[in-house]
């Protein structure tokens, strides 16, 4: 107890004290996160060494790989675009402590609903991009709303419901693609390309001579989403409601927040952002639909959001970092053959360590203890 401290009514000083404390706390979080990443990378290093491979060579590939060629840098930025969008989408319900794992399905629904417009409806430039995106976002909003309503009003476990919806959506996607979108006589299961006006130009197209692979104008989605999600979570009443529910749902309800509606909408808002990742894959990267278009991005996005502690301004940093690891992992693959699995193991260790809150709390407790001694002495 800080019984010795006099009661102060100096608002400005109080606010400053609170802000200082918050800043120190986030510095501790940052330190713990960085230490975790280093520890996980070290573990990978030891594993490769135990394999009898050259860990220095492998880590050189992992840590410099994405920058060794322009095309690889482009691949890095392209992957980061996806991961940042999914990370932002996941951060919204996670902030309300709702474990929506539905990003995978929401991306797919967005991509297929958007694709129906983008492939079959010729539209003028710009509108040709905006209309499919709007359709995709609306569809994924609704897909997100369903488990949100089930959780908020019926208390139905959101993990099970979102995983079930993912499984359903992926099979329906397979069905629609195989039986309706695949052109007759085609041997591979993929759709027709999107309309030329529905393409997001790659930077390689815009600046001839610059080879940035398939890195494309979808990066605009990222910029808009960062600003949008930040405004939503930090500057709007809806975001305040989400954060309050995340901190203490009962407190939020007693404080007059419509917790049910907020929880349901947090799932849906996440869905709308996830749709952008699907549209980036459709209109910017692949220009058509094929079976495994979303890969493992849904799970990777969860890692990205966690690394950033669901802070929309930190998601871009963790997204770039994580994409770097993934692309570097592909390079390691050529050296030790198990690069992508190695990155997966590193990913798992990072999440595990970050979820173990004990370390940060322990440092905070030590500091508080130290301060008490200083105060009393």
């Amino acid at each position: 107890m800080q019984s010795a401290a006099p009661i102060s009514f100096d608002r400005a000083a109080e606010r400053k004290a609170v802000q200082d404390e918050r800043r120190r706390s986030s510095l501790i979080d940052l330190g713990v996160t960085l230490a975790t990443i280093v520890a996980a990378l070290l573990l990978g290093f030891i594993v490769i060494w135990l394999l009898g491979k050259n860990p220095i060579q492998a880590y050189e590939a992992l840590l410099t790989g994405p920058l060794t060629r322009m095309g690889r840098a482009g691949r890095w930025l392209e992957v980061a675009t996806n991961l940042i969008l999914v990370g932002l989408s996941v951060a919204i319900p996670f902030r309300a402590r709702q474990f929506s794992l539905g990003a995978q399905g929401q991306m797919v629904v967005g991509a297929i609903m958007g694709a129906l417009v983008a492939i079959y409806l010729p539209l003028p430039p710009v509108i040709g991009v905006l209309v499919p995106v709007a359709v995709a976002m609306a569809s994924s909003f609704l897909l997100g709303l369903l488990p949100g309503l089930m959780k908020a009003y019926l208390n139905a476990n959101e993990i099970v419901s979102t995983l079930m919806l993912n499984a359903i959506v992926l099979r329906l996607y397979d069905f629609v693609l195989t039986y309706f979108l695949k052109p007759a006589g085609s041997s591979t299961t993929r759709s027709l390309p999107v309309q030329p006006t529905a393409r997001l130009a790659t930077f390689s197209d815009i600046f001839p001579g610059l080879d940035l692979g398939r890195f494309n104008l979808g990066v605009i989605f990222v910029v808009l989403s960062i600003v949008g999600v930040w405004l939503l979570l930090e500057r709007m009443p809806f975001g305040y409601a989400i954060r309050t529910i995340g901190a203490n749902e009962n407190f939020a309800r007693y404080g007059g927040i419509n917790t049910k509606r907020t929880i349901a909408l947090s799932f849906a808002a996440g869905g709308a952002v996830a749709a952008l990742a699907g549209m980036h894959l459709l209109m910017g990267v692949h220009n058509r639909l094929f079976l495994d278009i979303v890969g493992n991005i849904g799970w990777d996005g969860i890692t990205v959001a966690l690394l950033a502690r669901n802070n929309p301004l930190l998601v871009p940093i963790s997204g770039l970092f994580y994409a770097y690891l993934l692309v570097g992992g592909d390079r390691v693959e050529q050296q030790v053959q198990v690069g992508s699995e190695l990155v997966q193991v590193i990913q798992a260790v990072i999440i595990l360590m970050i979820t173990a809150q004990v370390l940060g709390d322990w440092i905070r407790a030590r500091r508080a203890h130290g301060r008490r001694i200083a105060d009393s002495g």
Binding site: L154, E341, V349
Partner: protein
């Protein structure tokens, strides 16, 4: 249609349902214990995968299916105990830690398989042990017309049914099981009467890992005789769904797991009959969503009824 009816009512179909249901039943029983203990185990998938992998590798190495089984169960249970340690001791979020362990299991097993075989996709080049079938114990059963092939299941399939009864007895008829459910119902209340919440939740997660591991070992050493990357294919998550579809009861969970198994077996059959398998495969997932809603509504009605009764007794 007639063709379909013939398929569904054939002995081979029933045998197939039992075959594909087994890993789901085992994992779902484990998930049920963890759910009733208030610590739902999302890492069932990871435990199954690790157990499937360790089982095959150890059985190849020792030339003993039994040692393979033990190694599989040990490593899958260990994974669940790591989850318990992170959640209960290091205060990690249960869900996120479990997601991490699933990733670790997926990447780690491929890694180990590559180390041992030099192949990243499967261990099919190794000669794995296999858990015995009923035929191996009672050679005479194959002589029985019709029911012979149905009865000739892997012993782990029989174990799944026996364990359903065992889990029911454990949860509802033993002090330990009742304490475990009390912790899941209301941890604070359980603590106040002297139950060690942490021990009970360790037990719940450990048992869930153990049962899921049996399901994993069945996949790689019963259903087939090799380990393949990500061979669990989401069965750990389907098992979670079976708990809700089965209204969180052992018998209900068993029936729900059999429904999922039947849907999977049906999907395989319908694939041969040119019905889109993708649509058939969605049936169990839709069923789960509906079951989730029905279960939630029933629970709410019960709570409301209880509150009404409480008010009535107070005014009376």
């Amino acid at each position: 249609m007639e063709q379909l009816v013939n398929v569904v009512f054939s002995a081979a179909f029933l045998a197939a349902v039992l075959r594909v249901s087994t890993p789901i039943i085992l994992a779902a029983l484990g998930g049920l214990i963890s759910e009733l203990g208030g610590v739902i185990n999302i890492a069932l998938e990871g435990s199954m995968l690790v157990a499937a992998c360790a089982g095959v590798l150890v059985s190849v190495w020792t030339q003993s299916a039994l040692l393979g089984l033990l190694a599989g169960v040990f490593s899958g249970t260990l994974l669940a105990l790591i989850l318990a340690f992170f959640h209960l001791n290091l205060k990690a979020d249960l869900i996120l830690a479990a997601i991490a362990l699933n990733l670790l299991a997926s990447g780690g097993t491929i890694f180990v398989v590559y180390l041992v075989t030099g192949d990243k996709s499967s261990t099919s080049r190794l000669v794995s042990g296999q858990m015995p079938f009923l035929r191996d114990v009672i050679p005479g059963i194959m002589n029985l017309e019709q029911i012979g092939p149905i009865l000739n299941q892997n012993l782990l399939t029989y174990a799944a049914f026996v364990l359903t009864v065992a889990v029911a007895v454990f949860l509802y008829r033993t002090p330990l099981g009742i304490h475990l459910r009390a912790v899941g119902e209301n941890a604070e209340a359980a603590r106040s009467v002297g139950i060690n919440v942490s021990h009970m939740q360790y037990l719940a997660l450990g048992l869930s890992g153990l049962l899921a591991s049996l399901g994993g070992v069945y996949l790689s050493m019963g259903y087939v005789k090799f380990f393949a990357r990500d061979m669990t294919g989401g069965r750990g998550f389907i098992a979670l769904a079976a708990i809700y579809l089965g209204a969180k009861r052992p018998l209900g969970t068993l029936i729900a797991a059999l429904v999922f198994g039947a849907a999977e077996a049906l999907a395989i059959q319908l694939g041969n009959l040119r019905v889109p398998t993708q649509l058939v495969q969605t049936i169990p997932y839709f069923a789960t969503l509906i079951a989730l809603v029905v279960y939630a509504v029933v629970q709410r009605q019960r709570t409301l009824a209880r509150q009404r009764r409480f008010r009535e007794t107070r005014t009376a």
